[in-house]
């Protein structure tokens, strides 16, 4: 780590971002509660650099993970994440809190990812994953349930991550926006630029696929033991 990193990073304690991110984050600055993301962005626009540090601390990890799960390779993910933050810095002057900051941030990320997908599709059609008309057997509700106790099995958690990586990119994006940024369907629709019904069906397909794949994993596990 270079000298710049060492002089800036001590201010940023490695607080886990999303998993413990409180739901009252959107409260508008009542005493004792964390300041809302929009307020922080407005403070940054007004010239307070520490507000940006706080925003960066909150969303650095969720954004990086979101981008990493939807791009090819860590280098490309780092590049896209960097472009997103630079866009936020450049756009600070014209930022208007019309929507939640998460919607603003992740919509930039989603647009950048879409640009990459498009350019990749132009180069090779192999990447195009069929999103519509999924295998009916695959998403059939066969009574499979999603386990609740994730802490018990590392294999189960790893199976979940693998199953997420196997989702078609649009469904993966919708699921990750919910899991990483805790966005509602309306916010996800706004961030991805898709219609609400499209987003809803993508989420349904994503959950059904994950449920089925985890049930398949459970059956394999039971057989092997």
């Amino acid at each position: 780590m270079d000298a710049t990193a060492s002089c800036i990073l001590p201010e940023l304690s490695p607080v886990p971002l999303h998993p413990s991110r409180p739901a009252q984050m959107e409260d508008m600055g009542s005493p004792g509660t964390p300041e809302s993301d929009q307020k922080l962005m407005e403070r940054y626009r007004a010239g307070d650099a520490t507000a940006f540090n706080e925003l960066y601390r909150r969303f650095r990890a969720p954004l990086r993970r979101f981008v990493a799960k939807l791009s090819q390779g860590q280098e490309e993910a780092d590049e896209i994440a960097q472009e997103v933050w630079l866009a936020v810095i450049r756009g600070a002057r014209s930022y208007r809190p019309a929507a939640k900051f998460t919607t603003y941030l992740f919509s930039i990320a989603h647009r950048r990812l879409q640009d990459r997908w498009r350019s990749r599709e132009r180069r090779s059609h192999a990447f195009a994953t069929p999103e519509s008309a999924p295998d009916p057997d695959e998403i059939a509700d066969d009574g499979a349930t999603v386990p609740e106790d994730w802490a018990a099995s590392a294999e189960l958690r790893s199976a979940l991550v693998t199953a997420i990586e196997r989702l078609p990119p649009p469904q993966r994006a919708v699921f990750l926006l919910r899991a990483e940024a805790d966005m509602s369907l309306g916010e996800i629709a706004a961030a991805t630029g898709a219609g609400l019904e499209t987003t809803r069906s993508r989420m349904r397909y994503a959950v059904a696929r994950l449920r089925t794949q985890l049930a398949t994993w459970g059956r394999h596990e039971t057989r092997s033991t």
Binding site: T4, L12, Y56, R157, R178, V207
Partner: protein
């Protein structure tokens, strides 16, 4: 099927996902981005201050001219000569006002637009630029070169920080390919400098978005770093 917004399975899956993931560690790119953000804040504050100062000067000039005009008018119709002089002054005042208006807002906008276009063009350069060979080269070892870059081309600045942090993490013969493939840089060369120096040094050259960059990197066990070159010795001036 149920509404996915209220689906308990979705909540369970999200909980499982959050339990699985970990925060990636901080690295040089994070520090570079935060540095860019802080520098941008100072730049905006300075620009805002300049804008207010110009606006205040403009208002003061307009107010002063109005006061002078009202003073002359208050002297009455007898003083025809001064009224004629006032009429003669009016176009000059208008020119003065227009000049101040030109100096204030549009100039700032033009400046910022140019900067923004430079940055976006640097970001969107996805292909190696064939014009790199003729482009002027930025010496990153020059005093203040990286700081200037942080202001003028923040995208390039963060990329260069990532490049410097990454060169020692891969074999030397792979560095040029890595920089070209990851950062869409052209004309990359990464050559040892044959000097008996310790720690060893290497010269890195590449081209990003039409601008050529070169740096002498000092390679240590902690990674590579760009050491600032000493300027030419200053001549003491006689009083």
């Amino acid at each position: 099927m149920s509404d996915p917004d209220r689906d308990p399975d979705l909540e369970r899956l999200c909980a499982g996902y959050r339990e699985t993931v970990q925060d990636p560690p901080y690295d040089a790119a994070d520090a570079a981005l935060l540095g860019v953000a802080a520098r941008q804040t100072r730049r905006l504050a300075k620009r805002r201050l300049a804008y207010y100062a110009t606006a205040a000067a403009l208002l003061a000039a307009v107010g002063l001219s109005a006061a002078v005009r009202s003073l002359i008018v208050a002297r009455g119709p007898a003083n025809i000569e001064s009224r004629t002089a006032m009429t003669r002054q009016a176009p000059a005042q208008d020119r003065f006002r227009a000049q101040i208006a030109r100096m204030s807002q549009p100039a700032l906008l033009r400046q910022s637009d140019t900067g923004f276009l430079q940055e976006t063009s640097a970001l969107s350069s996805l292909q190696p630029d064939p014009a790199c060979g003729t482009a002027p080269e930025v010496d990153l070892n020059a005093p203040g070169a990286l700081d200037d870059l942080m202001v003028t081309k923040p995208g390039d600045y963060v990329r260069i920080r990532r490049i410097i942090a990454g060169v020692t993490r891969r074999p030397d013969e792979d560095v040029a390919r890595w920089i070209g493939a990851t950062f869409h840089a052209g004309n990359v060369s990464y050559e040892p400098i044959w000097l008996t120096s310790y720690p060893p040094k290497r010269r890195l050259r590449f081209c990003l978005g039409g601008t050529g960059y070169s740096a002498v990197l000092t390679i240590t066990s902690d990674g590579a770093r760009v050491e600032m070159a000493r300027g030419p010795p200053r001549m003491r001036q006689r009083p």
